[in-house]
Symmetry: C2
Subunit: 471 residues, 2 copies
């Protein structure tokens, strides 16, 4: 690495570390501005913070090699999958080495008889489901983005199916992980349940790469249901729609998806996806199971929807129509951003006990009416989880401040209702203040664990924990 070629390194150890890395990985160590910029941000509004270099790893052994080298040089390391994180999880806040795992993209094994599979962390959810399609199985966790499974585990992601299938914590059976000192461990097994010692699998899921880098995942799969039926139902107002969802859950109806969108969000989706959903508060619903069970559930939910003034079900009759419906729903965040082209979005992610959901959304809606910023609402309301996409002009400090105020107020509202500040996006850079508020003294325990497993603090520094220790 000649001086004339080297960029302005952010981290003081960067030059030496990159020289050593280049010796091992050759042109898979990339210093170009465009690649570093691409790896310096996810899908959030947070400012890009470039790593000093990106190394494209291709095996667990290589990940361990990179980690040991970074430890030797005392330089931070940040894992990177698809770059679809929502809270600034991939920003290299201290510079350092970005470990791009996207080339570790092999489905290593599918065991149909056990309904599980083993994948490398760079496999995306769509790739996995395409791979599985002919086997009658699917993987249910579906954040909107084309995220990698390693990234989804790291943020404890979920999506529209969580009300039926749970979140990443529920579907990961086992992992291989490279620790902060380069040791490689395996957690869990292919057994469906285990009481064998501390649950390191669950500790590492949601740790956002601050305790170890996931290099392999064994995942539960599910049989594609015999019958699937999806519909959109329009409601006179937000409260009716959400109350209807609450009622279905209290009846024990096990729908596979129950998604809410408010008028602004439906309008945004229609504009972005060229769809023609009714521009009012709607529920997107999916029923799945045996034909008898599906028919019975549809009858119950139709009757409940009528009770709450729902305007009949508009069915997506064909598989193609059903795919189009869910594709449109998954585009919600991107659609919301197009409400004000050139603007950025601050996504909120609260999740509250379902009995408080109507109140929480209604209070939030009221506050939004008094705010100058548009903020379409969409939600996995079967779980009590909903998102605003607060759209603001990044060049206007007042708008950013207003977006952050709305985010903070909503987070505090959810906590006061017994909820959480993040249902599925994680903490990253964006929710550290709310995390401290939410978990209190438990934050000190998290810091103790971080200190024990990554004593040099090199794994994804600046994420998850508030900057100034509060406890």
């Amino acid at each position: 690495m000649s001086d004339s070629l080297s960029p302005a390194f952010h981290h003081p150890a960067a030059e030496a570390a990159i020289a050593a890395l280049s010796g091992l990985f050759g042109d898979r160590v990339v210093l170009s501005q465009s690649v570093r910029e691409h790896h310096g941000h996810g899908e959030s509004f947070h400012a890009t913070q470039m790593p000093d270099a990106v190394v494209f790893v291709e095996s667990t052994a290589e990940v361990a090699q990179v980690v040991r080298l970074c430890v030797h040089h005392r330089i931070p390391m940040v894992p990177f999958g698809a770059g679809s994180s929502m809270e600034g999880q991939v920003q290299a806040v201290e510079g350092g080495i970005c470990v791009d795992l996207s080339r570790m993209d092999k489905v290593l094994a599918v065991r149909a008889e056990d309904m599980d599979c083993t994948v490398q962390p760079g496999v995306t959810r769509q790739t996995l489901n395409t791979f599985l399609r002919d086997r009658g199985l699917f993987f249910p966790i579906d954040p909107g983005a084309e995220a990698t499974l390693g990234g989804m585990a790291s943020t404890r992601a979920s999506g529209t199916n969580a009300v039926r299938y749970g979140t990443m914590k529920d579907v990961v059976l086992a992992m291989e992980v490279v620790l902060a000192d380069g040791r490689i461990i395996r957690t869990g097994s292919r057994a469906r349940k285990s009481s064998a010692g501390y649950d390191l699998t669950r500790l590492l899921i949601g740790a956002e790469g601050t305790l170890g880098f996931i290099t392999e995942l064994t995942l539960r799969l599910f049989p594609i249901p015999e019958k699937i039926a999806a519909a959109v139902c329009a409601f006179p107002d937000l409260e009716s729609a959400v109350s209807c969802v609450v009622a279905t859950q209290q009846c024990g109806v096990t729908m596979s998806r129950i998604e809410f969108a408010d008028t602004a969000q439906v309008a945004a989706i229609n504009a972005y996806c060229k769809t023609t959903f009714p521009e009012c508060p709607v529920l997107f619903l999916e029923f799945a199971g045996s034909p008898e069970a599906v028919d019975a559930e549809i009858a119950i939910v139709q009757s409940l929807a009528e009770d709450f003034g729902g305007g009949g079900f508009d069915w997506a009759e064909t598989e193609e129509a059903r795919r189009a419906l869910w594709h449109a729903r998954h585009m919600a965040a991107y659609a919301a951003l197009q409400v004000r082209p050139g603007c950025k979005g601050l996504p909120t992610d609260v999740c509250v006990p379902i009995s408080r959901l109507v109140e929480c959304i209604a209070e939030t809606h009221k506050e939004l009416e008094a705010s100058p910023l548009p903020a379409p609402i969409v939600g996995h309301v079967g779980d009590g989880n909903f998102h605003l996409m607060i759209v603001f002009n990044p060049d206007d400090p007042a708008e950013l401040a207003e977006a952050e105020r709305l985010d903070r107020t909503l987070g505090e509202r959810a906590l006061a209702m017994g909820g959480t500040c993040t249902g599925e996006h994680g903490i990253g850079l964006g929710k550290t203040g709310l995390l401290a508020l939410e978990v209190g003294e438990a934050l000190a325990v998290m810091r103790t664990i971080k200190g024990a497993l990554d004593p040099l603090g090199l794994m994804n520094p600046g994420k998850l924990f508030p900057k100034d220790p509060v406890s």
Copy 2:
């Protein structure tokens, strides 16, 4: 505490610690031989190891007080609920103070609309379900014993319903925990899902009281299904019965219970419970849901059972008959012990991927035929989890050695098949060697976490970790 009254203290700091405890808790500090003996063992074969004293705590603040006092005196502390653990989890291997939480037995809140509740750790599963019965809700996790919910969380327990409802890790939303230094933390929230930082709830579930003492739990509840139907089905041999279960799982049938018992176990149950089940390999089955869904599932499973030579379903028609059926199944471990009165039982607890279950049970059965010890088999086969109760004469070292050999061999067999040595009982004193074999290098990570959160090693010492560090 006068010398003449004091028993022979096991731990050197016992006398001073007990004097201090007595000053705070008066006659709730108990030194009597009978109480100490009762608290020195669970339901396992492991020799009783008495604590030096038992303190009956009544609040979280008192637990914290006891913990701080034990830390001050550097004396071990062992949590105790119902004393129903299967692997020696409550034995006071270094003496010290037993913290009996059974008087913390209040159901603090039931929120029917959110389908959750908050309980103290001494509430037992039956007490909770009796409390809930009129509300149309139930708590599904059901180990055989009348265990406390704190103990069940500590061992990551499950039971017959796990195939449908999961294990303790899946139904605990939040906890209050007293840490090894007396700090009180709250983990989780009432939100159905969260990505807020490290999953301390899951880390503490299954930690067997080695990282903290659970003083409050918020639990998910479920609607009592509209229709429940239970039946027994006899099979010509073990392979047919287990293969039938595997087939139901691969069809995506969501039965609420699928339990297997071999001929020896059915005979033991019949003798102990005065039941008249057919004395051959059987499945105990339960279907639950909407009447339409239940009827559809019964039709599928009946047809599968016929394919595997199953002899028709013997239905428990009334609720009373159904309760009697599951009571008999829950008595399996006690019934097995009565095969040889005066003997003890070593319970195995392996769990394997379901594709290996037939092979694992068949190989085990073959080995048992060549062993002098009776060992009825019963299992939550829908999960791949099954138990032998190896019945041996505790006064005959050769029999104990043979029981331990069978346990070890079966554990190794399960690990070789990608399974776990413990599906639901935990490690305690009994499975530490197998834990080391199962988790490998991850054991060192567990030790690091233990060292960070309980640096003095006072919380339930001697449990979970093998005596001699293997890594």
